[in-house]
């Protein structure tokens, strides 16, 4: 296909799920499962179109489409642009494909729900996926805000989906308060930027913003970062995250954790790299600090949880922190590692949440203290959970190893010793937390019998198999994935000028990045082995001692009150603005 044809197809991957979402409640009148099946088809269609764009985009082109053909005149943009650059397309593809897998799983696990429930579920699910794809492809800051809001509205609905469960309502209230605050921050930030520069398009904004920012521009940057950090669940904006994941059904938690949270990371990288450019303000320093705090606090909180879903949710905070650290390293290896980790996280965290969904489906419990010995009864789920744990732990040949090595490489390259050590510490705690969970749930001896509720169904097994296979494939073919997908993605972020030219004229080509990666680097292998040993000791010790002071303190901070979480978020926003203005 020609470039023009590919460009004119760009709105479709968003339009199809949105249309599917609107029709889903109507289709539910004809048949119970029809809405979910059509949404599967819609996502497959989206993914097919995105795949058709992929060869050209990953070879270094930026494909841009202006809605209604309001093309730029002399570098002045009037229309809303959709631009597929490698980074955005990578995320959009991840969303479409994993979204389809999650829908397939839903068909099995929640297929017994009533008409109205399945219709509404398929509607919200597709709205959320469509919004995430739109947010990944758009090149317009207000359009990004709109997709943020569409995703937010759909996520409120999905969080409170089981309205009869009180904790779902509680979680819905918290996510509403925090996301609404975030939306104000983004709205004001975008408005300030427009008022100052007269531009909305990323490319035009990048060309208008100089190296020296005026005060409104700096404030806008702080507000945008804080707003999207709320979506990403970075500390201190993370109050909603654990609760929303705990209350939602399995596939929805997987969707939130694997895909929706990453949208925040994508938006932050757009703002930090492609709109402002990393040299303009100490924005990378800010992201590094947010990332380090999130990585450590998330891992510590995960270690202390008894509820398996909550444990995975706090681990999400930690993993997003790791992505932020990679981005903040600001060099090719770090940014490519962050992009790689984003995809990996979507794969392994979805897999783990689906495992928990299956456990709930069969035993009706999410509490680790009530589980044990599940490996004997549910070998497939146990295998999938262990595979996910090994991937997060960064053990070769699974996918986490490659992305974590790249992020470590990025940190070492600039001799950022303290962030590197803290990242390693967070990694050790993460391994300990997940290892503890796997032990307690699957391998610990347990004498009393379970009350079995439901059997595993084929769609659930298909979900485990496909996500697990991807985890292995992205690990084994690390160098290939890095060269073909992640290096172009990093190139788009690190060469904002070329990206801008690509969006405005479509003529520019992103330079090919060469990122050296040694799969069998001895230092990295030794650090992995050492981390696992230390983590094993830590987990073993943690099972035997009373709760340490640090963790009790951290628990006490997470009061569960919406007022307190809002206060943390506001304090974080003010701190972000202060750091950017003073630094």
């Amino acid at each position: 296909m020609t470039g023009a044809a590919l460009a004119s197809l760009l709105p479709l991957p968003v339009a199809i799920p949105l249309a599917g979402g609107v029709t889903a409640p109507l289709l539910a009148r004809f048949s119970r499962t029809l809405p979910v099946i059509t949404s599967l088809a819609a996502l497959a269609g989206s993914a097919a179109i995105l795949l058709a764009e992929a060869p050209k985009v990953f070879s270094g082109r930026v494909i841009a489409h202006y809605m209604g053909h309001w093309s730029p005149v002399h570098g002045q943009v009037l229309g809303i642009a959709f631009a597929a650059d490698p980074f955005g397309l990578l995320f959009a593809l991840t969303v479409a494909i994993i979204g389809a897998v999650l829908l397939l799983y839903t068909l099995s696990e929640l297929g017994g729900l009533g008409r109205r429930e399945l219709g509404g579920y398929a509607c919200l699910f597709q709205l959320l996926l469509g919004a995430l794809i739109g947010g990944a492809l758009t090149a317009d800051i207000i359009d990004l805000f709109v997709w943020f809001e569409v995703a937010a509205l759909a996520s409120y609905g999905l969080t409170g989906f089981f309205l009869e469960r009180p904790i779902a309502l509680e979680a819905a209230f918290k996510i509403l308060v925090l996301t609404t605050l975030a939306s104000f921050a983004i709205f004001i930030g975008a408005g300030l930027l427009y008022a100052k520069t007269g531009a909305l398009n990323y490319a035009q904004l990048h060309d208008s913003l100089g190296r020296h920012l005026s005060t409104p521009e700096t404030v806008a940057l702080g507000l945008l970062i804080a707003g999207f950090a709320t979506k990403a669940g970075l500390v201190p904006f993370h109050g909603w995250l654990a609760d929303a994941h705990t209350a939602a059904p399995g596939p929805v938690s997987a969707l939130f954790s694997g895909l929706m949270v990453s949208f925040g990371v994508v938006a932050i990288s757009r703002v930090a790299f492609q709109v402002y450019g990393p040299g303009a303000a100490p924005v990378l320093g800010l992201i590094m600090v947010l990332g380090l705090i999130s990585a450590l606090l998330g891992a510590l909180m995960a270690l202390a949880q008894d509820d398996l879903k909550r444990l995975l949710a706090y681990d999400t905070v930690s993993q997003v922190g790791i992505m932020a650290i990679g981005l903040a390293a600001g060099n090719a290896a770090g940014v490519a590692g962050a992009a790689y980790h984003l995809v990996n996280h979507a794969l392994f965290k979805s897999l783990l949440f689906l495992c928990v969904g299956a456990i709930v489906h069969r035993t009706g419990s999410t509490k680790l203290s009530e589980m044990g010995g599940l490996a004997r009864h549910m070998p497939v789920v146990a295998a999938a959970f262990v595979l996910g744990t090994l991937s997060i732990a960064g053990i070769p040949p699974f996918n986490g190893y490659v992305s974590l090595s790249l992020i470590h490489q990025g940190l070492q390259h600039d001799h950022e010793v303290i962030p590197y050590l803290l990242t390693l510490a967070a990694q050790v705690i993460t391994i300990a937390a997940l290892g503890r969970a796997a032990w307690l749930a699957f391998f610990r001896r347990r004498t009393d019998e379970y009350e079995w509720q439901e059997k595993l169904r084929p769609g659930m097994l298909a979900g485990f198999a496909s996500l697990g296979a991807c985890c292995v494939a992205f690990g084994v073919a690390g160098s290939l994935v890095l060269r073909t997908l992640m290096a172009p993605a990093a190139s788009g972020l690190l060469n904002p000028g070329r990206y801008a030219a690509g969006v405005l004229s479509g003529a520019a080509r992103l330079p090919a990045l060469r990122i050296p990666f040694d799969y069998f680097s001895p230092a990295e292998l030794i650090s992995v082995a050492a981390s696992v040993v230390v983590a094993a000791v830590l987990a073993w010790g943690y099972l035997r001692i009373r709760e340490p002071r640090v963790i009790r303190g951290l628990r006490a901070i997470h009061t569960g009150s919406a007022n307190d979480y809002a206060a943390y978020a506001i304090a974080g926003t003010l701190a972000a603005i202060a750091v950017l203005s003073l630094g």
Partner: protein, 122 residues
């Protein structure tokens, strides 16, 4: 630039924020958020203000203005006003969802106090 508007927007924002941070009644928190939302609209419209400008409706010039006034851009910025329209629509939807969640919480927990509705913590 109209200073009064900005001051009013900041005052509204602070009142709303005060309600969100200190009131434990959920309805009052929603009201606080609505106030903050209103303040963002006021702020945006104030950013769109130009001294002596006309409304951005370009059909025929209003009394006392000529076509050349419009051509030379002496109109309030329509883009920022558009943002507000978009945000108003989104805001209505969000408030509706918000209040329906609060109603269900009131039915389940028989209270609106955020301090009573925190089963999930730590």
């Amino acid at each position: 630039m109209i200073v009064v508007n900005y001051l009013a927007a900041v005052a509204l924002l602070c009142i709303g924020l005060y309600a969100v941070l200190t009131r434990r009644n959920m309805i009052k928190m929603v009201m606080g958020l609505s106030l903050m939302e209103a303040s963002t609209y006021l702020f945006m419209l104030s950013l769109a203000y130009r001294a002596g400008s006309t409304a951005p409706v370009l059909l025929s010039p209003p009394p006392g203005k000529s076509v050349s006034d419009l051509v030379h851009g002496n109109v309030a910025d329509p883009v920022l006003q558009n943002f507000c329209l978009t945000a108003v629509v989104i805001g209505v939807a969000v408030t509706a969802v918000f209040l329906s969640v609060v109603v269900r919480i009131a039915q389940h927990y028989r209270t609106l106090d955020t301090d009573q509705v925190r089963e999930m913590r730590g």
